[in-house]
Structures are given as C-alpha cells and as structure tokens.
C-alpha cells in the first residue's frame, strides 16, 4: 500500500477490506463481454504497459487467462515459463526479476512453488512496479479466490446469505487459504473445510472456519461446494492410502451433492481429476460452475490489473 492508501501489489486476500474486494468484483463486471460484443474488444487502459507473466511453476489456465486479460487491456504481454533452480544453483528469483525490470516491466504476474515468493519480489521492486501473486506455494492464490467470489455472486447472489464447504487437500492448497479469507471478508454465513485429518493443517480453525472429517454430514445445508484438486504426487502413499479409498470417502458424487442444500452448486479451480475428487456427471452437470469460473477469470484479472495501474484499490494494508 502506498502513502495514499492505494494497493501497489495484489499478493494475498488477507488484510484486504470488504470494500476493496467488492470494488474489484464490481469493476470486473464491466469487463465481462456483454452479448453482442466481440470478446476480443480491447480497452486501452494498459496501453504502453508491459506485463510479464513470470511462472516459475507451470500452469496453463492461470497463465493463459492472465495473458488474455493483459492483452484485452491493451498491454504488451510476455509469458515466461522458467524452471527455477533452488537456492545457490543458478540465478536467484530476485536476479531474474531485476533483469526483467531493467526492460521496463510494469506488472509482474508471479507464480512459484514456494510460499512467499511474490512477497519477496514485492519487497525488492521499485514503487512503480506492481506484483500480482498468481499462486505461491501453499500460501495464496488471490486472483483465483476473486474469480470464485465473482462466479458465486453471479450465480448465487449475496455471499453473506450462503454456507460454503471447501473439500479436499486443504493442507497443500493455496486456493483454499485465499478462498477462506475472501469468504470471511465478504461475510459468508459459514465456511467449513472437509478432509481427512492428514490433509487438514493444524489450527486451520484460527482462519475462521470449522474443520470436519466426514463429508456426508459436512455437506448438510451447504449452498456452495468448493472442490480442490488432489495432487497425487504429494500424497506419498501416506496422506491418503489410495485413490479408490479417497473417492469413496471424499469424492463428490451426485448422491452426495444431493445431501447439500437444494440447488447447491459445485466449483473446482481446475484442472480436475475426474473420478478422483469429482465424478464426471457432477463436473458436467448443470450445477457445476466450473467453466464459468474459467471465463470469469479473465474479467477478474483484468479488473485487478486495471485497478493496480490506476491506483484504484483504496484502503487496506499492503
């Protein structure tokens, strides 16, 4: 946050005010192409700006939506997928950033497998360079959480009237952490996290959620079911014993979804493991908002970039 109370970076939802979040969501609405408009219609808000997507960890959809968002705002967008060697081997994160900064980059969109990388970079760039966190380790994925909030408002209305369940690998999930902060800031009626004990971080309840291990009872009265991706390579055969058993206990099936509130919807940040955390018929059903999440990702990311450059995110810490 600069002296005038404007956000210079978008690193985490934690600490942002309800007004700031609503501001982003409302701005995003303006960037949703209305029917009849060409979706490629460009705005010139970021004309003359350079956006660098700096992805130390691979991602297709997040990077692509950031690329499209930047281009629609008229910016030059460069995407770098660069495997980062850990400490003392090869170029450090900050050296990479300084090199690109020397080429007059205005916005860095950063994704990394280590928690805190976006914060680290933000601490070491000049004041006129903006950092957007596109996912750091297990810590935060704030633009994902914002597009989820946008999608929920679009389909289910006021977040303060709804109950939410976040299901799956909470321990390793930056998406879950950002969703929890966003939902609580926007006044969600209730937020539950549901997973086996091996995938629930200690003291998760200190973030303002209730932690449950039984999916069937946990789904009662839930309006929005937020599934997480299970990354098998992280399970080491110990966090969950097998994919079959996981699906049996925590997989989202139509039968289970029917235990939630009537007209409950299902979300997933993608990419999905069909048959592991979510059954195909659920993923493809009318109650799934999954594709809508992807579409909205562009508008929300446009809103965040536009607000950073215009100094529009007022009030809040950072």
């Amino acid at each position: 946050m600069d002296d005038t109370g404007c956000l210079t970076h978008f690193l985490t939802i934690e600490g942002l005010s309800r007004e700031q979040l609503i501001g982003i969501l409302d701005t995003a609405k303006k960037f949703v192409p209305s029917s009849g408009d060409s979706p490629n219609k460009s705005s010139a808000l970021l004309a003359g700006h350079t956006v660098v997507n700096l992805f130390f960890e691979d991602s297709t959809r997040t990077r692509t939506t950031f690329e499209i968002a930047g281009k629609r705002l008229g910016a030059e967008v460069i995407s770098l997928n660069t495997a980062r060697l850990s400490t003392h081997k090869g170029e450090s994160v900050l050296d990479t950033v300084r090199t690109l900064e020397a080429m007059d980059t205005n916005i860095f969109v950063v994704r990394d497998s280590a928690s805190g990388t976006a914060h680290l970079i933000a601490k070491h760039v000049p004041a006129d360079v903006h950092i957007i966190n596109a996912g750091d380790g297990r810590h935060a994925h704030p633009t994902q959480a914002m597009l989820d909030m946008f999608t929920i408002r679009e389909h289910k209305g006021d977040i303060s009237k709804l109950r939410f369940a976040i299901i799956g690998d909470i321990l390793h999930s930056r998406v879950a952490r950002s969703q929890i902060h966003a939902l609580n800031t926007l006044g969600a009626k209730e937020v539950r996290v549901i997973a086996p004990a091996t995938l629930l971080p200690t003291e998760i309840e200190s973030l303002g959620v209730s932690a449950l291990t039984d999916l069937d009872t946990g789904l009662e009265n839930i309006d929005v079911v937020m599934m997480l991706r299970l990354q098998l390579e992280r399970m080491e055969g110990q966090l969950i014993p097998s994919t079959q058993e996981y699906f049996r206990c925590y997989g989202m099936t139509m039968e289970r979804l029917n235990r939630a509130a009537p007209e409950a919807v299902v979300m997933h940040p993608g990419p999905m493991n069909r048959g592991l955390e979510i059954a195909s018929d659920v993923a493809d059903s009318e109650r799934s908002l999954i594709l809508s999440q992807v579409t909205n990702g562009i508008a929300v990311r446009m809103a965040i970039m536009a607000q950073l450059v215009q100094g529009g995110l007022k009030g809040g810490r950072q």
Binding site: T87, S92, L120, P201
Partner: protein
C-alpha cells in the same frame, strides 16, 4: 603484564560473588585480592566504576564458518565479533568442512583460533565419522587432541543402536555428548513451527513432537548408558518439563536454549521475514514463556547464541529456501540482560547461564573469576543500551531479526588470558 580493574561491581556466579571490588590480573591469571597487596604495580589500569565485571561469556554453540564456508565468514571475523560481544570462549560444532572427526582437524581449528588472538575456540568432536551416523569416531584420540565434548550436531543418528553405542563409548572416556533433539522424519522439509503461522502462510511445518519424540529417545539412552548429556537447543514447552522430570530422576543431563528463542515467537515471522527462519523453529508464545520459566527454575542451564552468520543472499529467497540461522554472538549478552530487565532472572543467575554453567558443562576451568583461573573477563555497562545495526556488526553476518532494536548492556572491555582483546574506546 599486570592489570588492575578498578571499582567495578564484580559478579562471579560460580563463586557466589556480587560486590564492588577491584580485580587484579598477573601473568594472564586472576590474582586473589589478598595476594595483590599494596605493592601490586599495574601496567594497565581499567576504570570499571559503574560497570559490571563478570567472567567472559562461554558460548556453547557458534558457527565460525571456517573451515569450509569462508565466503560466509572467517574465524578472524567471527572471533572478533565474539570479543565485541563479551564472549571469550566459543564452542565450535564439528559440522565444518571437513568435519572435525580427526585429531588433525581438532589441532587445526584450535591452532587457527589461537593465532587470531581474540576469543578461545573449543572444537567439539564429531560423534560419528563424517557425521554420517554410522561409524564411531576415535573418541579417545579426539579427547587427547583437546575435545572435552562430542556432538553429531543436527545430523541425526537414525539408528538408535548406533546412538546408544556412541553414548556408551563416549562415557568410557568421560566425554560429554551434545545432543540435538529433532526427529528427522517429523521435521521433513519443515521450516516453521506447526501452528497458526504455518497454516496462515502455507509453510511446511515442524511439529513440536519432532523435538519431544527425539528428546524422549535421547533421555532414555542417557538413562540406560549413564552418559553425561547436554541437550543443545530446546524450543518447546513440553521439552522443558521432560528435562525437568529427567533431572528430578537424577539423570546426568543438562540443557540449553538459544537467546532468540527466549525473545521471539512464530508471530515474529510476520509476512515471511526470513531473518526469523531458524532451526529449531520459533514456536508459540506459550513455548517461549515456558523456556523462560525453565531458565528461572534452573531446569535449563545455558543460554547460547547459536550464532550462524550468513551472506546477504542467503536470506534473500523465498522463506523455505532461505538459509536458517541468526548471527547472534554480539547480541548474546544483551538478550540475556534483557531477561533481567523483564524480571525473568536475577542478574547473577542470568550471567551464570552464559558463564559458569556452560563452562561446567564443557568441563573446563573458565567462566569464573576465582584466584588462579585464566583472566577471561567482560566489563560492561549495564545501564546503557545500544541500537543494533546489522550492517555494522563485527560479524560477517548481518542476519539478525533484532536489527534496529534497542538492547540493554554495552560491552566496554573484553579480556582473554589477561590481555585486552576488545575495547570499545
């Protein structure tokens, strides 16, 4: 060389002394007041009026980075930092490169230390060759080369039978074993305490059980082998009570804590402050308070610096990839005095934790001011405070979370073997 230290408040916890009096030094040793009669002609007089005169500090755990990591620091830089902080003896863990597991390495480190003429250096020998946890070192030979204690530092000895035999063999030659209690499996790739902060920041965590489980094993082995064990650095509340129980049952165990664990908690990590990345990790405030109580009740014997100087780059990385450790030699005395100001310990008890107690554990006649002992002395001003300026520390490491903080106690003069090795003026 005869030195007269005049008018200071002499605090010598080992000899139960706390009174304003003069101190006389002749030929590198302390002379009893009755021997230094009116005919004592000092070559140098140090005015210590209003100051405290105490034994030089004995730090049981400080990395000097030499040999092996001279790009981070050298013995020259770090031993200068030691005397600037009132520390006159440092114990060097054997995890240098090469490892201190042969008498040649012990001689090399000691000789190099002596030549620098700052603080004394006491190398710890490795318990196992190359710290690999497999084969025992030639412990009797290491003892004869000058080691009084052995350690495998934070290289865990996974095989419990190897650890038991290492302890038995060490006790055969009256060597103290320094033990680090941290279960390698529960630690995993963790870098912060498992608790609120690890959950909020999404950082890989080290549960308190990683320390408690390992401590339970080491205590059981100390009990069955009768070995003299010193647990180097505790971080959790539960460990304090376990040490308390072990001591009550008569085990020959002592324990220490690093100065930063007494003043910081996981909360100080804030938004990924890598200066607070230490192993064992900073834990909850409940743990910090229990460590303080453990010191006050005498369950914990020692405060060490766990000095680990790093170059600037080591901390300029994402938290989990930054190098753990704090450059602590120059803040050890001040952080100990801060406990006095915060009513945790009396001044004399606090100084005992950094002088008499560590010297006793090391089994060397230092850390006290009795007649005939080597004149290792620290003269400090207890009433003034100083602002830590990380960039201006004598240490090559500027990695301290206490940067810009105002801390009590300014070291005026440090003597080692009756020679002034540091003087603020």
């Amino acid at each position: 060389m005869k030195i007269h230290i005049r008018g200071g408040r002499v605090i010598d916890p080992a000899n139960n002394i706390d009174q304003v009096r003069d101190l006389f030094i002749d030929d590198s040793r302390i002379v009893g007041p009755h021997l230094a009669g009116s005919d004592f002609t000092a070559d140098q007089t140090i005015d210590a009026t209003g100051k405290i005169v105490c034994p030089g500090l004995v730090d049981l755990q400080a990395r000097l980075r030499e040999p092996g990591e001279e790009h981070k620091a050298t013995m020259q830089s770090e031993l200068s930092a030691a005397v600037a902080g009132g520390v006159t003896s440092v114990c060097v863990p054997p995890d240098t490169n090469p490892v201190i597991d042969t008498p040649a390495m012990v001689h090399m480190v000691r000789q190099r230390g002596r030549r620098i003429e700052k603080a004394r250096v006491y190398p710890l020998g490795a318990l196992t060759i190359g710290l690999k946890g497999e084969q025992l070192t030639d412990m009797a030979t290491l003892r004869d080369a000058g080691c009084t204690a052995l350690s495998n530092v934070d290289h865990s000895i996974d095989n419990t039978l190897v650890m038991r035999r290492a302890m038995q063999y060490a006790s055969t030659f009256d060597l103290t074993v320094f033990l680090t209690a941290l279960d390698p499996w529960l630690k995993g790739n963790g870098c912060v305490h498992e608790g609120e902060v690890s959950t909020r920041l999404g950082l890989p965590a080290i549960p308190a059980a990683a320390e408690v489980v390992a401590l339970a094993r080491e205590l059981a082995l100390i009990e069955t082998t009768g070995t003299r064990g010193y647990i180097t650095q505790l971080s959790c509340a539960r460990s304090v009570s376990k040490i308390g129980e072990a001591k009550a049952r008569g085990l020959s165990v002592t324990a220490g804590v690093s100065a930063h664990h007494l003043h910081l908690s996981e909360k100080d990590i804030g938004e990924f402050d890598t200066r607070c990345h230490v192993i064992p990790p900073l834990r909850g405030s409940v743990d910090r308070d229990a460590l303080r109580e453990g010191l006050a009740s005498g369950i914990l014997d020692v405060i060490c610096s766990d000095h680990q100087p790093h170059g600037l780059d080591a901390k300029l990385a994402p938290f989990s990839e930054s190098a753990p450790g704090i450059a602590g030699l120059e803040t050890l005395l001040s952080l100990t005095l801060k406990l006095v100001n915060e009513d945790v310990l009396s001044l004399s008890d606090a100084l005992a934790k950094v002088t008499a107690n560590p010297a006793r554990i090391l089994g060397i006649n230092i850390g006290q001011l009795g007649a005939g002992t080597p004149a290792d002395i620290c003269v400090f001003d207890p009433t003034s405070s100083w602002q830590v300026n990380a960039a201006q520390l004598c240490s090559n490491g500027s990695n301290t979370p206490f940067d810009q903080q105002s801390l009590p106690g300014i070291v005026e003069t440090t003597l080692v073997a009756g020679e002034v090795r540091f003087s603020r003026r």
